[in-house]
């Protein structure tokens, strides 16, 4: 397992975390290269179904990050995201998704060092957890069954 390189997808908002990650770059702070960023205008835009699709397609870990509470560029997008997230978490739990594989964090445009930290901590954790195969297998099996039933 030593050469396991986790695939971590980060869903971030444009105004805080994306800008924060830019600052990590401008400040030349190094972090694990396993993470890849998908930019959204706001965490309010993130449809959490996409997280499930990412896991089903081989993501080992996911980071969701946006502006701190009260700091959302659009006032309340992160607040609505959080409300939806609380409900969605229950669904994910129910479906047997390992919640250790999702990091939810707030990183502001001025927190370049914090972004590196969030990434490194997540990647270390996912490295310990190993590749995420169980959910993928589960999905593939149910797809096969569906095909059979048809």
């Amino acid at each position: 397992m030593s050469d396991f390189e986790p695939k971590v997808v980060a869903f971030v908002c444009n105004w805080c975390t994306y800008a924060g990650a830019d600052l990590t770059g401008t400040s030349r702070i190094k972090y694990a290269s396993n993470v890849k960023i998908i930019r959204f205008p706001c965490t309010g835009r993130i449809d959490f179904m996409l997280l499930l699709k990412a896991f089903a397609n081989g993501a080992d870990g996911i980071i969701v990050s946006g502006c701190h509470p009260n700091d959302c560029h659009y006032t309340s997008g992160n607040f609505h995201a959080k409300r939806r997230w609380i409900m969605f978490k229950e669904l994910m739990d129910f479906m047997g998704v390992d919640m250790n594989r999702v990091t939810f964090s707030w990183v502001s445009a001025a927190e370049g060092a914090k972004w590196a930290d969030v990434v490194n901590t997540t990647v270390t954790k996912i490295r310990e957890l190993g590749p995420y195969v169980s959910y993928k297998e589960l999905v593939n099996k149910s797809v096969e069954e569906e095909v059979k039933n048809d």
């Binding site: 105004w15 990590t24 770059g25 290269s33 998908i38 959204f40 835009r45 502001s108």
Partner: protein, 667 residues
């Protein structure tokens, strides 16, 4: 069929030092739908842009991915280049290979692989982009300046002089800010009031400026060119139109024991007061917290003595609704006070004061009429110690940054002291002397060489009292960390400059970013020091970080130019990245079921109702419709809509899905 062009930039060596750009270009070139893939040293340069334009024409590209720095840096540059070559600018995307890859990872295979993946996400995305037309919105040509210190004053005057209207909001009873408290200013030692007061008066008299003092921002809605602002004008308990500013009330008010904020607590003021003699506007306000009438229901002496009957005890706060096109934030800073320095005995010993208190003491109009006298017994101190970096550059205290102004004002203080107390001894404890600036180092040299101020390089560990004297213990690091002990009559702390109270609250109302110290954040540390991340909101002065007057004024003029540029247009073009509710032919019209849950989450009230009628004119379906002039493209409605009827241009469901799949799937 899509024909995508990919342009990999080396950014000098910024990208190519850790990413194998040749390999990226080659791998990407083999992808389906990629018609052209190349690399170049500087894509943003003139030849780089020409290369892109030529390729668009030559290879008949339908989409472009520039793989270079952050889109927050150069997206407008490359979109413009594409438009010049006849390609709709919204068919151009950027892959962030610099900030998100080459600068943050080591040189190796994985880094190059990550670069390839990042480019692939954008290739997949751009295939699904559509040609969009910018949205035009009108501009309200009135600016709002928040804070009336020197920075706000400069910004307001500069904007007003371009012929545009300005509203200035100051929360205290007078404009002037910290500069009005200063005695003389470095590096020229000219009197602060003398250069400031004329500016304050100019603000009050300028035909284009409306000044609201004792007022605060209640809420801000809208967006660049079209902000809707609510202002709370706190009740001054006074009819300003009738008051002549004679000041009789302030002399008769029986409540006289309120610490005077302007004098940094070194004097007292009444409950009805004008903060300082040169205040603008020169009208009193009643401090409700301390007024006997408001506390006990009895007194009203000011009402009795007022010759014009201007006092209004029942005056309510007033809420004003303003339409604003651009905002300049100039709310300044504060300094750390009292209990922050137990090791220096501040707060415990009367003869330890902070820098602003020294300024008041040195001011001719101050509590000691410009004489340096110790607070405890009014004696002139014969030995005085100035401690620089009190709190600053001290991560243990949570303030890792340099407050920038203290080295200079400490030299000024020592000099002013020597000019007033010729036989006295002035000592300065310092860590480094930071005196970058025109004539600044010369100024410090003068303090040392001409005024014989004793500079000791080292930190002070403690200050304590013995026999009515203050004992200052520290080390001299230039003498091999030798301990030094100075018996002083008075100690002045150059305490750290910090963000103003309420800065975080204001930032949240404005939706602008701020740092961990609550200073307002600029859009780019080097190239956009005046802008914030929120379009139409600019920064001036010490609200961004502690800075001196010349810096505050330059930045204020910078922000004024930004506002003027914005106001030079009648219509603004905005990115058309807005939400749309789908439409189909009747009888479906739309998959929207008309629940209007989206309406309740939209922060901009951009979602309207559209009714569809049949031939008889009967309403057969009511569905949601986005007002594209108001929508800011946050996408909250998109994620919320259960029937998946809304999508966001530029971040559509298909696009983000394609991006995620590009990262995870083999190619």
């Amino acid at each position: 069929m899509a024909r995508i062009g990919v342009f990999i930039c080396h950014c000098g060596e910024n990208i190519s030092a850790t990413v194998d750009c040749g390999k990226v270009a080659e791998t990407i070139g083999k992808l389906k739908h990629v018609a052209y893939s190349t690399e170049y040293k500087y894509m943003c340069s003139d030849p780089g842009q020409t290369l892109i334009k030529d390729a668009i024409k030559e290879h008949k590209l339908t989409g472009v991915v520039v793989s270079a720095c952050s889109p927050r840096m150069h997206e407008p540059t490359f979109r413009k280049a594409c438009a010049e070559a006849g390609l709709n600018p919204f068919l151009c995307e950027m892959a962030n290979l610099r900030e998100h890859c080459s600068w943050v990872h080591e040189k190796n295979e994985l880094t190059t692989q990550k670069a390839i993946d990042i480019v692939r996400t954008q290739v997949e995305k751009v295939k699904l982009n559509s040609a969009l037309q910018p949205i035009k919105v009108p501009v309200t040509k009135t600016a709002m300046v928040i804070g009336g210190g020197i920075a706000g004053i400069q910004a307001a005057l500069d904007i007003a002089n371009t012929g545009h209207k300005v509203v200035m909001i100051e929360r205290s009873p007078s404009i002037g800010g910290h500069m009005s408290q200063l005695s003389e200013t470095f590096p020229t030692l000219d009197c602060s009031q003398c250069i400031l007061t004329p500016r304050m008066v100019e603000v009050a008299q300028h035909p284009n400026i409306t000044l609201y003092t004792y007022a605060e921002v209640e809420s801000v809605e809208g967006f660049i060119g079209n902000f809707k602002v609510k202002i709370r004008k706190k009740a001054k308990s006074l009819d300003e139109k009738i008051c002549t500013g004679c000041g009789l009330c302030t002399t008769k008010c029986p409540q006289k024991k309120i610490p005077n904020e302007f004098e940094q607590g070194m004097g007292m003021r009444p409950a009805i007061y004008v903060p300082f003699p040169q205040a603008v506007p020169n009208r009193p306000v009643i401090d409700k917290e301390h007024c006997t009438y408001y506390i006990k229901g009895k007194c009203k002496i000011c009402e009795v003595v007022c010759p014009t009957k201007a006092i209004r005890f029942d005056q309510p706060d007033e809420i004003l609704d303003l339409e604003i096109g651009a905002i300049v934030v100039a709310t300044g800073f504060d300094i750390k006070h009292a209990d922050f320095f137990p090791e220096y005995g501040y707060g415990k010993y009367k003869d330890i004061i902070d820098g602003l208190q020294f300024e008041r003491m040195a001011s001719a109009s101050g509590p000691t009429s410009g004489e340096i006298r110790r607070p405890s017994d009014g004696q002139v101190p014969k030995n005085i110690v100035f401690i620089a970096c009190a709190g600053s550059r001290d991560p243990a205290k949570g303030i890792a940054y340099c407050s920038k102004i203290c080295c200079m004002y400490t030299a000024k203080h020592a000099m002013l002291y020597k000019h007033k107390v010729h036989e006295g001894r002035a000592h300065v404890f310092y860590m480094d002397i930071r005196s970058g600036g025109k004539n600044y180092d010369e100024f410090v040299r003068r303090a040392i060489e001409e005024d014989h101020v004793n500079y000791i390089r080292g930190r002070v560990s403690t200050v304590f009292e013995r026999d009515g004297k203050l004992i200052v213990k520290g080390v001299d690091t230039l003498l091999g960390a030798q301990p030094v002990e100075i018996v002083a009559d008075m100690v002045v702390l150059a305490t750290a400059g910090v963000a103003n109270a309420g800065a975080e609250d204001l930032a949240q109302k404005l939706h602008v970013s701020y740092d961990q110290h609550k200073f307002f954040a600029e859009a780019h540390p080097k190239l956009k020091p005046v802008e914030t991340n929120t379009a139409g909101i600019f920064l001036a002065g010490a609200c961004q970080n502690p800075k001196d007057i010349p810096d505050a004024v330059s930045q204020a003029s910078g922000s004024a130019v930004k506002v003027a540029a914005l106001f030079s247009q009648d219509m603004l073009t905005r990115e058309p990245l807005v939400a749309v509710v789908n439409r189909y032919a009747p009888p479906m019209y739309s998959t929207c079921v008309g629940c209007f849950l989206c309406q309740s989450v939209c922060p901009y009230q951009a979602i309207e109702r559209e009714e569809f009628k049949n031939r008889e004119g009967k309403v057969v379906k009511t569905v949601a419709k986005i007002n594209e002039g108001l929508c800011q493209g946050c996408g909250t409605c998109v994620a919320l809509c259960r029937s998946k009827s809304i999508d966001l241009l530029g971040y559509s469901n298909n696009q983000v899905h394609a991006e995620v799949m590009a990262l995870l799937n083999e190619y």
